[in-house]
Symmetry: C2
Subunit: 350 residues, 2 copies
């Protein structure tokens, strides 16, 4: 190799724990202890080692540490990269990890189109790479599969309401309440014939919770007869066709509650193409309160689920698990409706 070293460490490549030990005049084991903030080192020794580490610009190699201990790396598994909501979660995870030795490495689960099953490949790849723990986001996995995974390594699941004993922690937005808030808001604004655009297949407990919330609140608001759940895949083409059919029908609803902003934007698009005005002809509500909701061309009423807080809690819980907690914890964040023009007060038509 013809590599030139910028700061030219004497031995050749990278500074190792051995060189730090030599420089500080202590044993390799002592340096290791300082590195891990382990119990049983004098302040004097710690200071000497710290000084040498700084002087030599020492950085431990995660893979070597992982051979016996931890890699100080946690895996983050996203279901998708297109939804800007995930950026909030990521920010939260990072801010929780900021003052720790942990670093998050992210992977996106490649779901094959409409099938949308979380493949084990990425998870196995992360385990092969010795992740100390995993945060899995919005997985389309059976609860049992998650429990099995949680038996193999520390696991926090974000966006899954089903528990499985102490196998893993969960962090969730209260999706049932979120859906209720949407219905309440619409009813308060004068809408009663409210349809819901949901996801197919609806094996995700998030979807299930939102559907339940929608149903229950519709009934409580006396709109039980109008309950109408349309389930569609995430494929844009399919969504468009579905929405178009819904809006063309004789019994066109007054409002559509879309399970995610991305679908709501599609609904706005179709309505616009059909020459309908929002919310006069059709009110639309989304979920996630994505940054695009604020744009005037969307002005989409949506449910904020505090993605950053969700990510923060998930990372915090995972580090606790890595540090030895073996009982499950479940964190739930309250949703909040953000009102915009797309579901503004209904004005009588004819």
């Amino acid at each position: 190799m013809s590599e030139k070293e910028p700061t030219a460490p004497r031995s050749g490549e990278r500074i190792t724990i051995r060189e730090v030990a030599q420089d500080a005049g202590v044993s390799v084991a002592a340096v290791s202890k300082v590195l891990r903030d382990a119990y049983g080192v004098s302040d004097a020794l710690r200071a000497k080692v710290r000084a040498s580490m700084a002087k030599l610009n020492y950085r431990p190699r995660a893979s070597a540490r992982g051979m016996r201990g931890r890699t100080y790396t946690i895996g983050l598994i996203f279901p998708d990269l297109r939804n800007p909501f995930f950026a909030d979660i990521y920010a939260g995870v990072n801010s929780a990890l900021e003052r720790t030795q942990y670093q998050a490495m992210q992977g996106v689960n490649t779901t094959s189109g409409a099938l949308n099953i979380t493949s084990g490949a990425l998870i196995e790849a992360m385990i092969d790479r010795q992740m100390d723990g995993l945060v899995v986001i919005g997985p389309n996995m059976e609860t049992q599969a998650l429990a099995d995974l949680g038996a193999r390594l520390p696991l926090v699941v974000l966006g899954q309401h089903n528990h499985a004993g102490d196998a893993f922690d969960t962090v969730n937005n209260d999706d049932q309440l979120g859906a209720r808030l949407v219905v309440r808001h619409l009813v308060a604004n004068g809408y009663s014939n409210i349809a819901m655009l949901s996801l197919s297949p609806q094996n995700s407990s998030i979807i299930q919770q939102r559907e339940i919330g929608y149903r229950l609140e519709m009934m409580e608001q006396g709109c039980g007869d109008a309950i109408n759940i349309l389930r569609e895949t995430q494929v844009l083409r399919d969504v468009q066709v579905s929405v178009r059919r819904l809006l063309s029908g004789a019994d066109r609803p007054e409002a559509i509650f879309c399970w995610t902003d991305l679908m709501a934007f599609e609904a706005i698009s179709v309505a616009t193409e059909m020459g309908l005005s929002i919310p006069e002809d059709i009110a639309i509500v989304g979920y996630d309160n994505t940054m695009f909701c604020d744009l005037a061309q969307n002005s989409l009423t949506s449910v904020d689920q505090s993605g950053e807080l969700l990510g923060l809690q998930a990372a915090r819980l995972l580090v606790e698990r890595i540090d030895g907690r073996t009982t499950a914890e479940h964190f739930m964040v309250p949703p909040r409706i953000v009102a915009r023009a797309s579901a503004g007060t209904r004005t009588e038509q004819e």
Copy 2:
């Protein structure tokens, strides 16, 4: 630990190379060779080892491999997660890696607001974790800093036009041509007073190239007098203020070329709020051809830079570098304009 093993490997935890060797009746070194597809093993031995690996469900540990050889992990560094364009790049990287042993791990460079400098922290964390190579996307780093990084490990830079000898490969969209295409398209559709909304600080060579393309083509089209470049940070608030000022002025341009779709969506929002119609009052063009361009409420004319192809090439080049190539390669993808309503044919006003 009270962990239960699902498939119950005899020894306790995970199957190691030693157990495979024992099962196959060969040496540990032989298994290692089969694992690495290394030169010098008989077909018979290879078959035996493969059979044992499959039977025992053996999976090598990346960190152990990394102690002497490779981790078969490459780092992907994104500047941001909010731009859906990056999802295309990610898909391309993954499809290039699909049939290899390599796995991409992704990190997002946390840029601090308007400052937008690629911090070394994430890069160092990736090096600590023994990434075999790095794909850095749209970095705001000096060319020299990239060259230094390339001297430390295999490096491909995506979205940076400046070369530095053989230190790293680059993969780019032809941004200068892309900007030219925008101007040509607008001029062909009847617009001549075309402003450009660019990024500040414009230390990215992508931005520089797009500005150059805009300037040159404006001059060649005889619109040199109308050249007007506005530079704004990525902060939404700032963009809104800038666009509003631009659109309120007495000399309002006929069209705005925005350096990225995200900014174009903001421009559409501001124009909409001001009661202007698009493209009658103001035409708008973006860059990236994000999925949101297709929505009727945006219908944004944009430049497609084939994100997936960019990602694919970057990963391919990186694996070549890891495999020993030491001379630089530079890959350039031609851009393509995608015409939509936001820059449709200009109709005379007064």
